[in-house]
Symmetry: C2
Subunit: 81 residues, 2 copies
């Protein structure tokens, strides 16, 4: 069965995010005031799995082994079929 | 009133995504087979606005003026209060 998995990877609370800071600054220069701004990456993966749990577990392993750095990143996995 | 706006910016259909291709290749080398993989960026913005419509419109203008390149990007805006 085919599953669509959205893996969102962001920085852990308290980590410095210089890119977000620069974007916030640029937005402010354009007249957009924001209270906060954080950046994250999304990997939209389509994969074959027996069931939803297997798809979730595979995505989690992908994060652990390649996509995320456990020291600085937190991630969220959403599975839809 | 404060609104949390999630702006997801990805490549338009048909645009080459060399990063996604490299990641898919690396995942495959680790034994993870995927049918497709796409990347996107998320900007999680917190801002003041009168109502949901204003928050949405402000986010849309941010995309048009700074965050997205209309030639290659498509974006999705989700507002929550």
């Amino acid at each position: 069965m085919k599953f669509d998995v959205a893996i969102t990877i962001g920085l852990k609370e308290g980590m410095l995010d210089p890119e977000a800071r620069a974007i916030r600054h640029a937005l402010s220069n354009l007249g957009f005031s924001t209270e906060s701004l954080a950046t994250a990456r999304v990997f939209q993966v389509s994969l074959e799995a027996q069931d939803r749990d297997e798809a979730y577990a595979r995505a989690e392993e992908m994060c652990a082994r390649l996509l995320a750095n456990p020291v600085i990143h937190r991630y969220r996995i959403e599975v839809s079929s």
